[in-house]
Subunit: 337 residues, 2 copies
């Protein structure tokens, strides 16, 4: 059974995946995945994934058959399982919990060789729409406190399948990294009565040194304290704590799918041009469900190309050495066309 | 000029290494280092490194010449520079500081193809002795608040040179990750009036499920909440907050070099046997200099083999998925001989 364990010093939870335990020989054998082999995410192979929980189809085909433009299915090898109640227990100084959660895969397109940079804009909009629908649905499950939406593009970024896909993981706790970000935003708000992200956006749009691109609803920047070369953030210009919630508010209007899809595709195309299709991680930074402190936070997307290796110094200190100043990265990105 | 920048949300500092700026083409060209080429750390090439700040020699040769068993030299391409005063300034919502610090390389042996696992025990003792002498010396510089000692072994772990070496970086601030660990230990101490690491050691030695090996002065374990497969900690059995300090205390006795060297080599040999010379990061976890909360902490060594890739989920949550339960890892490590 998968188990969550808490580090007694750092207070950080870890998933011990006892179910898909890996032995030493699994690591020492060269990890080479055959490219071009069978792909379970391609159209026509719908029976090779668990049954879909969401799909966009233009025709009247039944679920789990051909004719879709996007599918969401449970992960066949989930990090956390949907079944069971939350069970928490101690063992001396240690704390554990069983691994309850949800782990879903968003198959972004039926076409194996497309990407978010090459799809028609409507296709990127659909991906964002699927993220949002699934987050709203998972939120109904009271066992979950947070859903993370992320994408690993390329083997170096941790992708195990080549077919364009992203993932959602619903968690029974708010992860430490997320809590820290919420707390940072809350501390700033308490001191200044303003959102730190709104302040960052205002300053970036004035200074123009780190802006990559913008449209009516979003701006993309190379952040001031970039941890990685060519790290890029996409921020909604209007304050909104949660990616999935809050857009019913008449003052905030409907979710700006078109602006979000346009700038996301624009940024990924620029990255492809400047860095020749680099591996990257894309993460939606969002507020947790129990809406404490929700007004302080400002959802956004962070994209980090995987160009450097994390070594001992970074592990030991969480202090990153970035060899490309964000001002220079922004300039390369702005000029890419 | 290298610059430290603070993330306005997370409060985490980043080193923007403007001096050795890397352009997009530096990342897109395949990174292949010629193995077996010229090595600046080998004996006879003493003039190809900056002048040594420490060396162990058995003969009467002058500094920066042959005949050494260990040398410490400043890093030729330092992440931080030793010159200058600390200068802190704001820019709207942002904070920056100039990159003052020290970055040194411990050349562990004159022999290119040795390692900490194959050196004579006395050689490993010398490496620990050099770490300690340098930390004590750097501590005299009042600009520094923390020195991290670490080793990247293998290209996948971030090593850029093959010759056995470790590094020290002295920092003008206490890094966030270090502060969190100190705070976690302090919170536990305040609640229980006991050291959390002492409690962990006691429980591990009783349960024996995660113990790898022990001697009179040290124990090695696979930690309960291991973030990575085969993560290994080496803990001194007697409470001591700082690796370099506190051993003058008559109750604590002299620094147990022999026990530390013996168990470090034992652990590295077991890792080599089980995982066939894996890439790894080794980090000395230590308390900062200004001795706040110092009594709560317990210095130790953490070794993390680089067997899995960090992907979007881990970046976004600091929530690690470990496919090898530490109880199984400990069993493989115990049985290795």
């Amino acid at each position: 059974m998968t188990e969550l364990r808490k580090d007694p010093v750092l207070g950080r939870w870890v998933i011990i995946a006892t179910e898909r335990s890996r032995r030493p020989s699994d690591f020492t054998q060269e990890e080479r995945r055959p490219l071009g082999g069978f792909c379970p995410l391609c159209e026509g192979n719908e029976d090779r994934t668990p049954p879909e929980v969401l799909a966009f189809r233009d025709n009247s085909n039944p679920p789990n058959s051909r004719g879709w433009s996007l599918r969401v299915v449970p992960n066949k090898f989930p990090a956390l399982r949907i079944e069971g109640d939350l069970d928490r227990e101690g063992d001396g100084v240690y704390d554990r919990m069983n691994g309850v959660g949800a782990h879903e895969v968003v198959i972004e397109t039926p076409l194996h060789h497309e990407s978010l940079a090459t799809l028609p804009l409507k296709g990127v909009e659909n991906v964002l729409r699927a993220y949002r629908e699934r987050v709203i649905d998972l939120r109904r499950d009271s066992r979950f406190q947070f859903v993370i939406v992320f994408k690993n593009h390329g083997v170096a970024a941790g992708a195990s399948l080549e077919h364009p896909h992203s993932q959602l993981i619903a968690l029974p706790i708010v992860p430490k990294r997320v809590a820290e970000e919420i707390e940072g935003a809350r501390d700033y708000f308490q001191y200044k009565d303003r959102c730190v992200f709104c302040d960052v956006i205002r300053q970036e749009l004035q200074q123009r040194k780190r802006v990559i691109s913008e449209n009516e609803t979003f701006v993309s920047i190379a952040p001031f304290a970039s941890s990685f070369p060519f790290e890029t953030w996409i921020l909604p210009k209007s304050h909104n704590p949660n990616f999935a919630l809050g857009y019913v508010d008449p003052f905030r209007g409907p979710f700006p799918y078109e602006g979000a899809a346009q700038i996301l595709q624009d940024v990924l195309r620029r990255l492809d041009l400047v860095l020749k299709d680099p591996p990257y991680n894309l993460i939606i930074h969002n507020s947790p469900f129990p809406s404490r402190d929700k007004d302080c936070y400002h959802w956004h997307i962070e994209i980090t190309p995987k160009l450097t290796k994390m070594a001992g110094f970074e592990w030991g200190t969480a202090f990153f050495i970035n060899p490309t100043p964000p001002e220079e990265a922004a300039e390369y990105m702005r000029e890419a066309r």
